[in-house]
Amino acid sequence: MSALAPHFSYWVTLFLMVAGLYILIARGNLVKKLIGLAVLQSSVYLLYIAPGKLLGGTAPIVAAGFSTYSNPLPHVLILTAIVVGVATLALGLAITVRIREAYGSIEEDEILERDRAEGR
């Protein structure tokens, strides 16, 4: 237990990761898969940001009266990751909308079935 205690901040990451991956693989609905993907991506946020926190510190905006700041570099990286995440989500949803229009369904197995019926 003593080995695990200093690393509790990663448990949340792990839980989110399992949840995201699980929704992504197990569910057949295309929108739901995208939400799983978004949860998976957001699990990374804590992996980067939590270790950057220093107890007794403050947000990295330099001002008189503070000397300890949390680490700004992970913040910058995750800002990028969030924006990349929403960009991917937007594109994924656009493709899903087109799939719905072309196949009349957004369930993975029904789409595969229709493709098979067409004989590739």
């Binding site: 200093p6 690393h7 901040s9 990451t13 792990l14 990761m17 399992v18 991956l21 699980y22 929704i23 693989i25 197990a26 569910r27 057949g28 609905n29 929108v31 739901k32 939400i35 949860v39 957001s42 946020y45 804590l46 992996l47 940001i49 270790p51 950057g52 926190k53 220093l54 107890l55 403050t58 947000a59 990295p60 905006i61 330099v62 001002a63 700041y69 949390s70 680490n71 700004p72 570099l73 913040h75 990286l77 800002l79 990028t80 969030i82 924006v83 990349v84 929403v86 960009a87 991917t88 989500l89 937007a90 949803l93 656009a94 909308v97 087109r98 719905r100 957004i106 369930e107 029904e110």
Partner: protein
């Protein structure tokens, strides 16, 4: 969220999740990230999801067959990460490499070198400004890509 079959509630849950994430980020002193997560994760993503649901229908078909294989797979992946994280520095350890290498220059000289006291803004726009150019291009790519995919046909 995994079990809920009404996609509308899934989206609402997802928005709540994003807001919770934003508050956690505030607690971790990542105010810029929290603001972005609230605006982009909870705001923009939700609007996009709702817009898409309107076009695709909000009901998930059914079932969940063989849920164990995916579960095992995701747990294996997480176990690898969990095992790896055991070797990481402890939480809030000021002697961790991320606090002693590279970053001290940002914190100590950033305000003088860039004239911006918000170090996140300084790193984002100047030290690692090229990343942010790439990020802007990613947004541009998504915008142009969605136009290419969803622009209405003129005739038909």
């Amino acid at each position: 969220m995994a079990l809920q079959r009404d996609l509308f509630s899934v989206v609402v849950l997802f928005a709540i999740y994003s807001f919770l994430m934003a508050t956690v980020l505030v607690a971790l002193d990542a105010v810029d990230v929290a603001m972005t997560e609230a605006a982009v994760g909870a705001g923009a993503s939700t609007v996009l999801l709702l817009g898409a649901l309107h076009l695709t229908g909000a009901r998930e078909a059914k079932r969940m067959e063989r849920p164990l294989v995916p579960l095992a797979l995701s747990i294996v992946v997480a176990a690898v990460l969990g095992w790896g994280s055991l070797g990481l520095p402890a939480f809030s350890d000021p002697g961790a490499p991320i606090h002693t290498h590279v970053v001290p220059r940002y914190l100590n000289d950033g305000p003088r070198e860039t004239g911006v006291p918000n170090i996140v803004a300084a790193v984002l726009a100047s030290y690692r400004g090229y990343d942010t150019l790439g990020e802007t291009v990613v947004v541009f790519a998504a915008g142009a890509g969605v136009i290419a995919l969803l622009r209405r046909r003129k005739r038909r």
